[in-house]
């Protein structure tokens, strides 16, 4: 019998029929190489099977309607929404209409080149015209 390597794992997994199993056992009894391979594979198989069984993350436990948008896509959606909002705010700021002209008396006076005195002696909001080099004449 040739070395039936691929059957060794099948034997360990209970995947051989009675005839195959008997033949392989007969071979193993007289073949040190295959016996050693059986032991090696048995150890590896046991190690893999000893890996801890992980719990399902809580947000993947389905009791009702699930989260149908995959996790990564949800994050992309949030990031995309934030980017869209940022763009809208930027565009709105850039293209916002000029504010309407102020109707305040002080602003109007300043636009005409006057300064507004805050000196109580002149009363609130008295206008002092500005002349030439910026000197103030009362």
């Amino acid at each position: 019998m040739k070395h039936p390597s691929a059957l060794i794992s099948a034997l360990l997994d209970g995947e051989l029929n009675a005839i195959e199993s008997a033949q392989l056992h007969g071979h193993l009894a007289s073949c040190g190489r295959c016996s050693a391979e059986l032991q090696d594979v048995q150890r590896v198989r046991a190690a893999i099977r000893s890996l801890p069984v992980l719990d399902l993350p809580p947000d993947l436990m389905f009791e009702g309607e699930p989260n149908v948008v995959p996790f990564r896509r949800r994050r992309y959606l949030i990031a995309s929404a934030a980017a869209v909002v940022a763009v809208i705010v930027t565009v709105a700021t850039l293209f916002a209409p000029e504010p309407p002209p102020s109707t305040s008396y002080d602003d109007l006076a300043r636009s005409l080149g006057a300064v507004v005195s805050r000196d109580p002696a002149f009363g609130p909001g008295k206008v002092l015209p500005v002349w030439g080099d910026g000197g103030v004449q009362q």
Binding site: S5, A6, L7, I8, S9, A10, D13, E15, E37, D40, V41, R43, V44, R45, A47, I48, R49, S50, L51, P52, V53, L54, D55, L56, P57, P58, D59, L60, M61, F62, G64, P66, N67, V68, P70, F71, R72
Partner: protein
């Protein structure tokens, strides 16, 4: 005759943990495993209406492997920079405290790393057999290969692992 879950919510409840463990062992991290489970369940929901009675396990795991392979292909087309901090990724994927999750994951760290070094066909066969507990027949249906190929892949996969772990 095999009874199958009637709704995809039942599939999620009955098989969700197994799918997650398969996904984790295949991808090597809970973040990708999380995404893969959701993708699989979406496909199950779409596919259940057209499910033909047969091997439900084979059907389910075929969907799972296809979802995984599609993701691998998608990443190969559009390579992305992995997130730099593994711990943060675990934190994103689970509401459990990071140290608890970390301790659980690192318990079989060497074996997990060795699994990730296997070519996909061998990793898949070994994980479906030793982690999920499928029969060779079910693995053959999932992978759409003859049972002799499954025998060979499982044995060669284990021998490769032995070589990596030595």
């Amino acid at each position: 005759m095999e009874s199958i879950p009637l709704t995809w919510e039942e599939v999620a409840r009955v098989h969700g943990r197994k799918i997650y463990n398969f996904a984790y062992r295949l991808t090597g991290n809970p973040y990708d495993a999380h995404d893969l489970v959701q993708e699989v369940l979406l496909r199950v929901r779409k596919g259940l209406a057209e499910y033909q009675p047969g091997s439900f396990e084979g059907w389910l795991w075929r969907i799972t492997r296809n979802a995984f392979l599609d993701e691998v292909r998608r990443r190969n087309r559009r390579p992305t920079t992995p997130l730099p901090d593994e711990v943060d990724r675990w934190d994103l994927a689970s509401t459990e405290p990071v140290d608890v999750e970390y301790a659980r994951i690192t318990l079989g760290d060497d074996i997990q790393k060795a699994l990730l070094e296997l070519p996909f066909e061998f990793r898949e066969a070994v994980v479906l057999c030793d982690i999920v507990g499928l029969s060779y027949e079910e693995i053959a249906q999932a992978a759409a290969v003859p049972i002799g190929t499954v025998r060979s892949r499982i044995h060669r996969g284990r021998k490769m692992l032995r070589g990596i772990l030595e």
